[in-house]
Symmetry: C2
Subunit: 129 residues, 2 copies
Amino acid sequence: MRNRSVTYSSEATFQALADPTRRAVLDLLRRGSQPAGEIAGAFPVSRPAISKHLRLLRRAHLVREHREGRHRVYQLNPAPLRAVASWLDQYRTFWKMNLTSLKTFVEAEYVKETKQAAKTNIKTVPGKR
Amino acid sequence: MRNRSVTYSSEATFQALADPTRRAVLDLLRRGSQPAGEIAGAFPVSRPAISKHLRLLRRAHLVREHREGRHRVYQLNPAPLRAVASWLDQYRTFWKMNLTSLKTFVEAEYVKETKQAAKTNIKTVPGKR
DNA sequence: TTATCGCGTAACTGATAGGTTACGCATTAT
DNA sequence: ATAATGCGTAACCTATCAGTTACGCGATAA
């Protein structure tokens, strides 16, 4: 058998990851596959909204869908994330390098950051609906 | 001196990375700091457009700006990417795991992928847009 | 001082994306 | 057969963003 590697569109992947709800869906699916309804139930947005997110994730091939009776079960497909990881790797050396020059920046700026970082944290299993 | 860790808003980071032009700007800055004009010159869009991209990157703290005479030099700040990397790390085990179950998917789907993957590749120093 | 350069901002346009409600289509349950 | 469930799609509204041109301001050059 040939060793073919699948080339995913990084563009679609980044695009899909840009939305916090979609990242949360992925985080949710790391725990195991789930039907669309249960996924939607985990978020404070409507079911159609989640449906659209799922379609986007499907097109980015970050999830796969298969039917079980009248359920549509969604499964994580982490393969496209490899491309993102390898893009990031190009920067890995940089953030090891710049620690000293970063320091001055940090002293001045970190305060503003921590303030708004709290509310933008991804919740893996969100509460209300 | 204390060893404080800066918490960046992953939300802003992902958001900034969602645009291919902005990723290309970062890729450009890996080669070294540059004034805004030169960055703009590397892209087929107007200078104000790049200026707005730079502002977004600035707000995501992915770049820093300092003035040199009448130039505004932009410098890469890769620190926020660490958060993205650590998010990705949670998926690293998954894409090592799923290789076999991925196989069936690949056989069926890879054709469509390769077709559109060609035109969506990120160019480090992009040409037209 | 005056002209020019570098660059950001304002104001506007068009496209896109996330959200909603309403609806329709299968599939299971009664 | 009929009702109910699960879920996607259509149609719509709104906010945001990428792009443009016009303008203004500070810094250098003449």
